[in-house]
């Protein structure tokens, strides 16, 4: 075989192998869904998915598996985290994209990246050492004295471990995701549009409000959705501060039991009770499907946003 043919053959071969790898990666999500669904099957055979998702009865030993409590718990924690995180993140991103001098931007960006790199157990540890005591000793007594009449804010959980603490920890965890994506989409707004607004006599903030933010809105929504799906699946940090009490929460101060925490907390005993492993892998499947829906939604919005800008 001539050297040239050998080289071409090698090239084709490498192309095939790499193409197969790329194909496998493209199918990986699908594999994960199938693998989890297969393991969840024994449970789904005897209990309909509707019951699984809408029942709040959780008695593994009696074969009763309902995820509602855990799904509601996850939603409470995640929504609170987003309510706390979104306003400061947007303001930060606007500042970084529109106001910050180059040097300052250059120093702050790595700091935000650093925040993204901190392991989630460390966030959890910080939650236990600072956030939980603060909620227990300062916020809860204050709320009990002044806000007891408002149903969502009834503070009768004296431990500090609960939705409020985990919402605070989770909010800090999603800061970097929301800030970096939002900053990027705001910076992608063409300068010509900014200049036009400024030339008409708008202040910088009026320009941002009327032009930059309006133009970047789809991207900002996508950033928030991405942050939401990140927060929705976060396990360790939340599990360490949320209290892990299987109840439907009635107030921000209540303890909850999110879905990821359920999976992580019970892996040890799941092989010893019938159908328990099926139930936990079904929980992982539910978690995955919810997160997938949000991530794909965010990506589609982002794609359209990019196309519209181009």
């Amino acid at each position: 075989m001539s050297a040239g043919r050998w080289r071409r053959l090698k090239d084709r071969l490498a192309g095939r192998v790499m193409g197969a790898l790329a194909f496998l990666v493209a199918m990986l999500v699908f594999f994960i869904v199938v693998a989890l669904a297969t393991r969840a099957r024994p449970l789904l055979d005897i209990q309909s998915p509707v019951v699984l998702l809408t029942s709040s009865e959780w008695h593994p030993r009696q074969g009763k598996f309902g995820f509602l409590t855990f799904i509601v718990g996850t939603v409470w924690v995640t929504v609170l985290a987003m309510v706390l995180a979104v306003p400061p993140c947007l303001l930060c991103a606007i500042y970084l994209a529109e106001y910050a001098p180059r040097r300052l931007r250059g120093t702050i960006k790595p700091v935000v990246d650093l925040l993204a790199g901190i392991p989630s157990v460390v966030y959890g540890l910080w939650g236990i050492l600072m956030v939980v005591p603060f909620v227990r000793d300062v916020v809860t007594p204050l709320a009990a004295r002044h806000l007891g009449a408002i149903p969502l804010l009834r503070a009768d959980n004296p431990t500090g471990y609960g939705i409020l603490s985990s919402g605070v920890v989770l909010a800090v965890m999603v800061f970097p995701v929301i800030i970096s994506v939002t900053e990027e989409v705001i910076r992608a707004v063409p300068d010509g549009m900014r200049e036009a607004a400024l030339a008409l006599g708008a202040t910088r903030w009026q320009m941002i409000k009327g032009v930059a933010l309006r133009r970047a809105l789809p991207g900002i929504i996508a950033a928030v959705v991405l942050g939401f799906s990140r927060a929705f699946g976060e396990t360790m940090a939340v599990m360490m501060v949320v209290g892990n009490v299987p109840q439907i929460p009635r107030s921000l101060f209540d303890a909850a039991y999110p879905l990821p925490a359920l999976i992580a907390n019970n892996y040890g005993e799941m092989m010893s009770i019938p159908l328990y492993d099926s139930a936990l892998l079904a929980a992982a499947l539910v978690l995955l499907l919810i997160v997938l829906a949000f991530t794909i939604m965010a990506r589609v919005i982002l794609l359209h946003a990019v196309r519209r800008a181009a």
Partner: protein
């Protein structure tokens, strides 16, 4: 004037938010440092847990440090090999606008958002399928899957910055796509690739939820791919869960070690990038 007042109020809020974000980072680092430093000593770093360690007796977390390093290195190596193939394929072997390339990129974005506990659960089903127990290998596989999207998207980004002219020049000289990939793209993007590798390593070493099912935990040093292995994040988690204050102190120290490793990698990345980019054609 109203509009200037509004501007000033908003600017104040923005600066307040910046302080909040940076302040929380500093607060977290300060907490870990203040709590971890007093509990840290040489024995923590050089010994494995001895009998009664979890009751406050002697020993250290060397098993977790070694386990985490082994697991994250293995996972990073595995996901690098797989990821490099995929990234080069997307850059050189398919048209950028092809439907397949879009599909793979969308899949990677979706994988990036998959929670680590789901990778753990998936890894667990793989272990059941292969009739294996929680082990170093299981942890490596779960972490490699977790790192893969970071790896591919990161490498694609740095390869995308390779000047188009270099690719054309390489092709014009008669190089095949594979030769262009390995001799031009990889070399040219090397500093960026190193950054991406370290980023993925940092993400892998800090993750707990995915190794919970797949790697297990042990008081011994990692010895075989098929035995359970300890890890730093789980060392923090388990020791915090014990009722004894002495043992909880050690969790703080373990957290400090973990943070030092992660931040060290981050700093190393910055230094290396500056160093390595001297050899790049611009």
């Amino acid at each position: 004037m109203g509009k200037h007042l509004e501007e000033r109020v908003m600017l104040g809020l923005m600066i307040g938010s910046m302080v909040l974000v940076i302040g929380s980072l500093l607060l977290i680092l300060a907490t870990v440092l203040v709590k971890g430093l007093p509990a840290l000593n040489l024995a923590m770093l050089t010994q494995v847990p001895k009998g009664g360690y979890y009751l406050g007796k002697e020993g250290g977390i060397l098993n977790a440090i070694a386990g985490s390093l082994a697991m994250a290195s293995g996972a990073t190596a595995l996901s690098f090999v797989l990821g490099l193939g995929v990234a080069l394929y997307l850059q050189l072997f398919v048209r950028q606008s092809s439907r397949f390339a879009h599909l793979v990129r969308l899949a990677l974005d979706v994988l990036w958002g998959v929670p680590s506990i789901v990778y753990g659960a998936f890894g667990f089903t793989l272990l059941l399928l292969l009739k294996m127990r929680a082990s170093l290998l299981g942890g490596i596989i779960a972490l490699a899957l977790l790192e893969l999207p970071i790896m591919v998207r990161g490498m694609e980004e740095v390869m995308g910055m390779v000047p188009f002219g270099l690719k054309e020049a390489s092709s014009a000289l008669g190089a095949t796509r594979l030769e262009t990939a390995l001799r031009v793209f990889v070399r040219q993007a090397a500093p960026g690739i190193v950054t991406v590798i370290l980023l993925a390593f940092g993400r892998g070493i800090g993750d707990a939820a995915s190794v919970l099912f797949t790697a297990g935990y042990t008081d011994r040093m990692p010895s075989s791919l098929l035995r359970p292995v300890a890890s730093l994040p789980l060392a923090v988690f388990f020791q915090l869960g014990t009722p004894l204050p002495e043992v909880q102190q050690r969790a703080y120290a373990a957290a400090l070690v973990l943070v030092v490793i992660v931040l060290g990698i981050s700093l190393l990345t910055r230094l290396l990038v500056r160093r390595l980019s001297r050899y790049v054609v611009r």
